[in-house]
Each structure stands twice: as C-alpha cells, then as structure tokens.
Amino acid sequence: MSFLQVTNLSARIKGSDHRLLRGVSLTVEAGEVRGLVGESGAGKSMIGKAILGILPRAIEITGGSILLNGTELLTLSPAERRRLIGASTALIPQDPLTALNPSRRIGPQITDRLVDILGWSRSAADARATELLDEVQITDPTRVLRAYPHELSGGMRQRILIASAFAAEPKLIIADEPTTALDVTVQKQILKLIATMQARHGTALLFVTHDLGVVAKVCQKISVLYGGLVVEDTTAEAYFTGPAHAYSRALLAATPKYTNPEASLLPIPDAVIAAVQADVDAYDRRVP
C-alpha cells in the first residue's frame, strides 16, 4: 500500500463547469520521489494543494479520493484533517521571499509546528531547529534563528523553509516548484540539498515542477499532466529513454539539455497539442 494514493481526483471552479483536475490518479511509495510535470497552468500545483487541503476558496473537489497512509483525507472533518496533515506532511513553498512571516523571527517559524501541534518541549524544538540549520549548511544558526526574514537572502530563506519542512520528520513532503523563484546559481545547490535530505530522511516526496532537468536528477517516477489530465505515468528512466505519449516527447524536446546547451529548442508542434487536447475532450465526454 503506497504512502500517498490519489485516485480519480477531479476539481473545478465553484459554480461553473470549468474543470481544473480531470480524474488524476498517482501514488507515492514511502521514501520514493515522484515528479509531477507539465506546462504552467496544467494543474500540477493544484494537486499538491488539494492534498494539503489549501485549495483556494473558489475551487471545489468534485470527486476522487486521497489516501494518506491509508486514511481517506476527503472524508475527515476539517480539524482532524488539519492535524493529520500538520503532523505527517510538509510543504516546501515556491517563493522563499513571501513564504516567511515578515514580522516574526526565523526560530519560531521552524519550531511553532513542533511545539503547538506536536507538543514538543520548547528546548527540544530549539535544539531540533539548530540541528536542522546545520543540516541545511547554514553557518552561525543561533544568529539566523534570531534574525528576521528580510535580513536573509532568497537562498538562505529557501534552506530555512526546507529545514522547517523536514523538522517534524514528515512521511510526505510536497515540493511546489521549490527552485523556480531562485536564480540559476542557487537553484542547483537547493536541488542537491533537497535530494540529499530526502534520501537521508527517507521521506516520500512529490516534486511539482515544469523543469524536466530537475526531474531527471531527482525523481524516480514521473506523471505528466496536461489540462488537469494525467497523460503519462512512468519511471524516470523510461521517460528519458522514450516516453510513450507524443506530448511527453514534445515536452522533453522542448527542454534545454545541460549536456548540449547549443541545441535549438523545438516548440511543441500544434499537432501534438491538438492530440493531447483531444484526450482531454474525450475525458470530458466520458465523465459528466
């Protein structure tokens, strides 16, 4: 039984028939990293938000199920669901510049979950925080813990957010495009950091990104998304040697390779777009 099991998850904008997720199914095994790729607007981060229960108010889930370690999240009461998510999952947000509360010091923003939700003692939580900051290679953790977010660089803040995510040893972490907002030089380090920590802590990781280069390096499994529809669910090697779906191939071709940067980028041909759009329409006809 995989740690996270999403089956047939559908969602739309309240009071309209504009569908955002079309029967999405995917699994993440304990200790495994699954990449969730697709162009922006494909609905990939929507899935992460649905799992964590932080969908915007105007969007409603119309069907499907989300099993976290065997518990069905969608039928839990909001309070129970909140506690479960808080205790056993974590989010690595996209933009470190806005994901930290500007009027609170860094320390409490790491330890608050441990003390308030998990009932740790203050001293244990503080010790844990310092330990984590070392792990994310932050020098002088005591100063950083007392500092305010605006005093730190984007890279530093993302390291802190990663530390905060791993603080409670969650079983599942959802990384929502964690490197997109960072400049290129820092992206590689952060990517490496996430990978090493994931391996060391054995946390299941759902990695949402539109950058296939990232996926290649970190993920074992990949789901490709278009218009809220999972068009391909395969392993990393299978994907990079010869993906089954035309859209996945086009996507791969459109991504610059580190190996030969001069290769010209091939835009996704219209025919492929039409084909994948046909799959979406087929789904809509099939499912009322």
């Binding site: 932080i54 947000p93 500007p102 009027s103 979950r113 305010y148 605006h150």
Partner: protein, 336 residues
C-alpha cells in the same frame, strides 16, 4: 547619528507647524465679528467706557503688535488671561486637558475593540452574509455623525434604560482623593475601583459616541488589510502546519495587517479628538471641547487661542506617537 538627525528634523517641522497654527488662529480670532468688549457693555456704558475697556484688554493695538505681545508672553509661559474667567489661560486649559485626553483614549480603546472584532469576524466569515452585515453596519456607523450617536445614546441609555450617567465626569457627591486631574488613571492607581466604576459609567456614553465612527473606519481598513494578507504564502504555509483558521488570522495575518492601518487610524484619531468639541458639550463633560464652545460664544479671544494651540500640540504629539509606533512595529525599520 541618522536617528538624531531625524528627531531634530521632526522637532523643526513640529515647531513650524505650531507657529503656523498660532499665527493663523491669532488672525482669524481677531477678524471674527463680535468683539468681546461689546459683550461686556452694561446698559448705561458710554463711548469712553468702550475705549477704556478695549485698551484694558489690549485690543486697541494693531494685530501684528498684539501678536508680538502675545508671542513674547508665550515664551515666558504666559498665554494671556481669559476674558470671561479672568484667570491665566494656561492654567484653565491645562486644567481641562486631562479630562479630554482620558475621554479620547477611552474612545480609542472602545474603537479598537469594536473595530477589531468587526474586522476579525468579517475576515473569518469573509464572502458570507455575516461579512455583508458587518459592511452595512460599518457603513451605517460612518454615515451618522458622532453627535447624532450622542443624541441616540442619551435617549437610549439616559432616559429609556437609565443605566449610564449622561452628564458630567464623576458624581459630584463623591469625595475625590485625587491630586492630579487624571481621575480615571489615578482611581486605578489608588485601587479605588468604586470611583473608577463611577467615572467609567460617566465617560462611557460620550466615549462610545466618539468611538463609533472610528470603530467603523478601523473595522473596514483592518478587514481590507487582513483579507489581503490572508492570500499571502506564509499564511498558506501556516495552514499546512496544521493551524486552524482563527490561529492563522490572529498569529500570522493580524500582526502584518495592523501596520498599514496604523497611520490612517492615527489621522482618524485626531479627528476623534476634534470631535470632543461637540460631544463634550452634549454630555456636559468638563473637557477642553466644552470650554471651547463657551470661549467662541463669548469671544474669549485669549482662551480660544490657548485651546486651539493646545489641540494642535495634541495632534502633532499623536502623529509623532503613530510614526514611532510604526517604526517600532515594523521589523524592517526597527533595525534600520
């Protein structure tokens, strides 16, 4: 060093403001028709009586001359003598100041509480009927001027359901062991809760009348700022940590939503203090405002001047406090 320069610069601007106010009110008050001398003319007075009295009050000199005399006096702490009360203006005005300050601060506390509750509930129940209800009440509170609220409160709690006092500041028959004029504060300091209760029951209705418009403004501004903050990432992150909606609003959103509303509330608070002129008159509350109306009716020029300048000092002080609060509360500036 930079902080010192800022303070000096601030003092300079405040000085200019106060001088400006003094000059303007000095001229306006002298240009106003109905000079005090005519007020004092007895039935049989003759022209030299008029001349003698005018000279006695120094009103025969030109306005610039009078201003210089007055300004020189101010430098020695003498703001002139009140014509009607025949006492130094400074003592009269400082004697009444604590009453107005206490009333204004009590009104501010009520406004912050009411406005805060309205904003937090409005945010918690946003996009529902409750929020629409709160918007309408805020709109209503703003559309009725504070003196009409005063009238309604007198009718409601003074006559129909007489549970609050409707005039004065304290029950005259009580023995007040106070040394300062800050009754409310001193009654607490002396742990005299019986007196404190009596004073509060006198001040509650006028303070409420003053507070309602400000509460509506706080309610609207804070709700607006809170709702904008609720969309930010760190609030969403807090939800993933397992915190409930109320905790998220109070711990994550509120501290950051207060800042933008602070400056506007500061300005509105000065309007509230200005409003005491009518509310104190309505409730016969012996503060600066009440005395101001008598001063204008009787054309007590030195007293009017003293009162307006003291109001100006209060306003500049309030703006100063608001700016300091803004710097202290805003982490970015704190280490600036």
């Amino acid at each position: 060093m930079q902080l010192l320069r800022a303070i000096l610069q601030r003092l300079l601007t405040t000085a200019i403001t106060l001088i400006g106010v003094a000059v303007i009110v000095f001229v306006v008050v002298r240009v106003v028709p109905g000079n005090p001398i005519a007020m004092m003319l007895p039935p049989g007075a003759t022209d030299e009586d008029i001349a003698r009295l005018t000279a006695q009050y120094g009103l025969d000199k030109t306005i610039p001359e009078q201003f210089l005399i007055w300004a020189r006096g101010v430098l020695h702490g003498d703001f002139g003598t009140s014509i009607t009360a025949r006492q130094p203006v400074l003592d009269l005005v400082l004697g009444r100041l604590p009453a107005t300050l206490e009333l204004s601060l009590m009104a501010l506390v009520i406004a912050v509480i009411l406005g805060g509750i309205a904003a937090l509930t409005g945010t918690r129940k946003r996009d529902t009927l409750t929020e629409a209800g709160i918007d309408i009440t805020n709109g209503m509170a703003l559309s009725i001027p504070d003196f009409l609220w005063g009238l309604l409160l007198i009718l409601a709690f003074g006559v129909l359901v007489p549970i609050f006092h409707i005039s004065g500041r304290v029950t005259p028959s009580l023995e007040l062991p106070f040394t300062t004029d800050f009754y409310l504060v001193e009654s607490l300091v002396r742990l005299r809760f019986d007196l404190w209760l009596d004073i509060v029951s006198h001040m509650f209705l006028p303070a409420l009348a003053l507070a309602i418009p400000l509460a509506a403004i706080i309610g609207q501004l804070l709700k607006q700022s809170l709702k904008e903050t609720m969309h930010l990432d760190y609030v969403t992150l807090a939800r993933t940590k397992g915190y409930g909606e109320n905790h998220v609003i109070l711990r994550e959103a509120l501290p950051n939503a207060i800042l933008p509303t602070l400056t506007l509330v500061g300005v509105q608070f000065t309007f509230l203090i200005g409003g005491t002129v009518i509310i104190e008159r309505l409730f016969s509350y012996e503060g600066l405002g009440n005395m101001a109306i008598d001063a204008v009716i009787n054309r007590d020029l030195p007293l009017i001047q003293g009162i307006v300048i003291l109001f100006a000092v209060i306003f500049t002080a309030v703006n100063l406090v608001v700016d300091l609060l803004y710097a202290v509360l805003n982490p970015r500036l704190r280490h600036g």
